[in-house]
């Protein structure tokens, strides 16, 4: 998946690093008891602390600390038993304190790794650090002709900033990285990964270089809020940089914005205009300290993570790597599959989930949770195939009906009389009728035109309205045609 850019002067490699801002799944904010629920009326979830009233002090939310530790353990990272909260100072109307409480020199989580799967196979992406920080509020510029409005509901919500190493080489790898990270956090329950609601946002660092050369000057594209946009931004930005370099220009280290309507990035502020954030340790908070025991306790409670689940699906269920990857990406899918395949043919169950169910979900644009298909009704459909009650072909029709209207496979099969015909007498009658109607083709077949065998099978199936047992039809046809 290495996406190289062929330029006038040679081949360019894209170098990508990502800073993912993941909202910590938590009822209350990082330093206050205010609610974090999405979609509330503006300024209804704001404590005195979030509004930075005089004399108010932050108190760390232990649950958020636990969530950060979990996330760190999920990417096999070092958990720092002592970390420090710093103040990042800048003025903005939706930043009530005039500073954001973040972690600068001593983050809670150190180096870790994450394995992504791309067309070239597996690749390890390094993670530099994860730190905890507060979100800012929201400025609304479209509510009044001459004023801006401020909504502080998000002010103080806990974020994890997850900083990767510059280890990605294509938009596809970046997308795979975000998906994998999101998947792990969903398994852990530490971030819901909902990009529409802003619980996962990305700053994308992009530079280009000739293969083997030093890293080029990077540009940071701020606040990209969908995986598709991340890919578009990387594609546009890398081509822009190559064009500049090939015409003898240099890249200015700057912060850029992605415009979703044009698919382009544009300059937001240059390095010279960059803020001096005057980071210093927040004197209102003591250093964050916990014991190795505390970390070990959390570690013992971790759920099975996607990589482990995938390996288990391959080793124990005999699934292909590709199918296992697909099934484990989303926690909900994996759980669905495990429930479905329990006591059933693992591969058959996998095929039904991946081909039929995913196909139908994609086509209709709904998610697994909203679908009428559940592990129970899909399971009984698979059982009907396995015990020969219906053919795979009929099963697809039944599935279509379940997907549209719900209901159990058994009752659909009974109501519509879709049971497979396995009675050899009944099948022989069907075959005889087909052969007598096609005497000329029978002669051709016997003269050596083997290909016509499929034609006879098709005709028999058609005459049985798809209900004939294909295996038996094959056997009986062979006997008849040989005779």
């Amino acid at each position: 998946m290495k996406a190289l850019i062929e330029g006038q002067t040679g081949t360019w490699e894209i170098v990508i690093g990502l800073e993912v801002h993941a909202q910590v799944s938590s009822e209350s904010k990082l330093f206050s008891g205010a609610s974090t629920a999405f979609g509330a009326k503006p300024n209804t979830q704001v404590s005195l602390i979030d509004a930075a009233m005089p004399g108010m002090l932050p108190v760390i939310n232990q649950h958020c600390v636990r969530q950060a530790i979990k996330t760190g353990l999920g990417i096999n990272a070092t958990v720092n038993l002592k970390s420090v909260f710093d103040r990042k100072n800048y003025f903005y109307p939706d930043l009530p304190q005039g500073y954001q409480i973040s972690q600068y020199k001593h983050p809670i989580i150190g180096e870790g790794t994450l394995t992504i799967v791309s067309e070239e196979g597996e690749k390890e992406i390094g993670i530099e650090r994860i730190h905890l920080e507060q979100d800012a509020g929201k400025s609304m510029h479209d509510q009044h002709p001459s004023k801006s409005f401020i909504d502080l509901n998000r002010s103080g919500v806990a974020l994890m900033e997850i900083v990767s190493k510059p280890d990605m080489r294509s938009a596809g790898e970046a997308a795979a990285y975000i998906r994998k990270l999101r998947s792990i956090m969903r398994y852990l329950g530490t971030c819901d990964g909902n990009m529409q609601e802003g619980s996962l946002r990305c700053d994308v660092n992009v530079s280009v270089r000739k293969i083997g050369e030093e890293l080029g000057t990077r540009c940071e594209i701020k606040n990209v809020n969908s995986i598709r946009f991340v890919q578009q931004a990387i594609d546009y930005e890398s081509r822009r940089q190559v064009e500049l370099l090939e015409t003898g220009d240099s890249i200015d280290q700057e912060t850029r914005l992605f415009d979703a309507s044009t698919g382009q990035t544009r300059s937001m502020r240059s390095k010279e205009e960059a803020h001096d954030y005057r980071y210093f340790p927040d004197p209102d908070l003591l250093p964050l300290e916990f014991s190795q025991n505390y970390v070990d306790e959390i570690k013992a409670e971790l759920p099975e993570l996607p990589d482990h689940k995938r390996d288990r699906f391959i080793a124990e269920f005999g699934l292909s790597a590709e199918d296992a990857d697909t099934l484990v990406e989303e926690k909900a899918t994996a759980e669905f599959y495990e429930e479905l395949s329990n006591g059933r043919d693992k591969k058959l169950a996998a095929n039904w989930v991946i081909t039929e169910l995913f196909g139908a979900l994609n086509k209709s644009g709904i998610g697994l949770r909203e679908s009428k298909v559940d592990a129970h009704n899909l399971g009984s459909l698979i059982d009907l195939i396995s015990d020969g009650t219906i053919s795979g072909r009929i099963a697809k029709d039944v599935f279509g009906e379940i997907f549209e209207s719900g209901g159990s496979a058994n009752s659909i099969v009974e109501r519509k009389g879709l049971r497979q015909i396995s009675d050899s007498g009944q099948l022989t009658d069907l075959i005889d009728a087909v052969l007598s109607e096609n005497q000329d083709k029978v002669t051709e077949f016997r003269e050596g035109k083997d290909k016509l065998f499929g034609f006879f099978v098709g005709q028999v199936m058609k005459r049985s309205q798809g209900q004939a047992n294909p295996k038996l039809v094959n056997e009986l046809l062979k006997e008849k045609l040989a005779g």
Binding site: L48, A51, A52, M53, P54, G55, M56, L57, P58, V59, I60, R87, N89, F91, P93, P96, Q97, G98, Y99, S146, S148, I150, D276, R278, Y279, F280, P283, D284, L285, L286
Partner: protein, 491 residues
């Protein structure tokens, strides 16, 4: 019955429990004194109605036999403690219209114990000053101006100037203050009263307008050591809403005042003997040493080698924290807002009009020392020196129990005298700042009068959370020096 205003807090407690005085009588006497002395400018706001109401509630409780420790005790509150429904200005134009909807932990605990709020005391703007001359609401007159028949009006010290002058002048029997680098102790010294800065973490900072978070600490200003012990008991205590508040139990400080300091080891730090210190201050210091020795204490000479770096260290760390703490005053949500159509203009005009010169100076210094390229040379170095200063104290406290020093390098000076010379003004804190940097408890006790007839204070410094030794030694000194406030409430 003698003049109500001359009674100290412990006297009032007795008079109340003996039913000689009612809470309402006491409160009315104080409200009247405040009204008659409005020219002293000790109060930014007077909460007369609230005071009467609280006094009536006190009297009802006392009548029912359910009297609380501070029932009937009228106090002043430094105007940086947020008081619910009562204007809280921090001495600044920026908050001149600010009325909090919440009560600071310290004042909450005082009301819980029955204390009565007379009003909000004047102070240097955002607690930045040593003379109460940076207040947006004007200077405060030290009651010793009249007592010493000074030609010029004298400052009460700062930043808790209004609190100190009110307690000294008989406009409150006690008051809360806050001390960042000496803001309780220095005005106590200038006004001839007792002022105590407890150990950092002893009192909650929740609801106290922040100046420098790692240094700010609330404490009492009173007329006697016993009164300080009584008030501190109510002010102190662990508060889960303040992450820097210490989860340690609060002793009954009053019990420490048993006068027995036999064998107690008192250190006299040689670095505090500075050239240019007036002989009368040197004499007072010696007098203090003699009193303690006579009472059975063991006196020894000790060294705090990094003392000379304390003031510059303080004037890096405190402004650095202040520059960030005061960023919230941006005109967006509360307080002053200059009407401008552009955001940047609104910020600039709001902060220009809202802050006075001293506050601006410290924000500038603080912003500078935290800036990229200067951080290591200033802020980081200052933090390292702070650790060394703390280490100095840790070292000497292996061999002594308390330290004895002067509180301030001078007596009260005239209003306006040092205003154009910030460095000279900053030097007022030379003896108080090291303890603040180390987070240690310290008390200022009035010791004697200068040649001009103005009070001078002695400082006792103790180990972390050993307020009891500090109070005990302060009590012995108080008995020994025989200093009395003159003509309280008769200006």
């Amino acid at each position: 019955m003698s003049n109500i205003l001359e009674l100290n807090l412990a006297d009032l407690q007795k008079a109340i429990s003996d039913k000689h005085l009612s809470a309402k009588e006491i409160t009315e006497a104080y409200l009247q004194a405040i009204e008659q002395n409005s020219q002293s400018n000790c109060f930014i706001s007077i909460t007369e109605e609230k005071a009467i109401q609280m006094a009536e509630e006190s009297d009802k409780r006392i009548e029912r036999g359910e009297g609380l420790a501070l029932d009937g005790i009228p106090i002043g509150v430094k105007d940086l403690f947020c008081t619910s429904g009562v204007s809280t200005t921090a001495g600044s134009n920026m908050l001149s219209n600010f009325v909090p909807q919440y009560e600071s932990t310290v004042t909450e605990q005082l009301w819980r114990d029955g204390a009565i709020m007379l009003g909000k005391c004047n102070m240097d703007e955002f607690a930045m000053g040593s003379a109460n001359t940076t207040s947006y609401f004007g200077s405060v007159e030290n009651p010793w101006t009249t007592r010493a028949k000074s030609e010029k009006k004298l400052v009460p010290g700062g930043s808790s100037g209004g609190s100190a002058a009110a307690v000294s002048g008989g406009l409150a029997v006690a008051a809360t203050g806050s001390d960042t680098g000496g803001s309780i102790r220095q005005p106590a010294s200038f006004c001839g009263i007792v002022g105590m800065k407890p150990t950092y973490g002893r009192c909650s900072r929740w609801g106290m307008v922040a100046f420098a978070s790692s240094l700010d600490q609330a404490g009492p200003l009173t007329r006697t050591v016993r009164d300080a012990a009584i008030l501190l008991k109510s002010m102190a205590g662990y508060d889960p809403k303040d992450s820097t508040s210490a989860n340690v139990s609060v002793p009954n400080f009053e019990l420490a005042l048993n006068g027995d300091i036999r064998g107690l080891r008192v250190g006299v730090p040689r670095e505090y003997k500075r050239e240019g210190t007036p002989p009368e201050i040197e004499n007072l210091w010696q007098k203090g040493i003699d009193i303690l020795r006579k009472a059975g204490a063991v006196i020894s000479d000790v060294s705090l080698p990094h003392t000379k770096y304390a003031l510059p260290t303080y004037y890096i760390i405190a402004p650095a924290e202040a520059s960030s703490n005061l960023a919230r005053y941006d005109g967006v949500r509360y307080g002053l807002r200059a009407q401008q159509t552009e955001l940047q203009d609104m910020y600039q005009r709001t902060r220009d009009e809202g802050f006075g010169d001293e506050v601006k100076r410290r924000i500038l210094i603080g912003t500078y020392v935290l800036s990229a390229g200067y951080y290591d040379a200033y802020y980081l170095k200052a933090q390292r020196v702070r650790a060394l200063i703390k280490q100095d104290f840790d070292n000497v406290f292996e061999n002594v129990d308390v330290l004895l020093t002067p509180t301030a390098p001078s007596e009260a000076f005239a209003i306006g005298e040092n205003d154009d010379d910030p460095i000279k003004m900053y030097l007022n804190d030379i003896f108080t700042v090291p303890t603040s940097l180390a987070g240690l408890p310290a008390i200022s006790i009035p010791g004697s009068l200068s040649n001009k007839g103005l009070p001078l204070g002695l400082q006792v410094v103790g180990k972390m959370f050993d307020e009891e030794s500090v109070l005990k030694v302060g009590d012995v000194l108080e008995s020994g020096v025989e200093f009395t406030l003159q003509e309280v409430g008769k200006q």
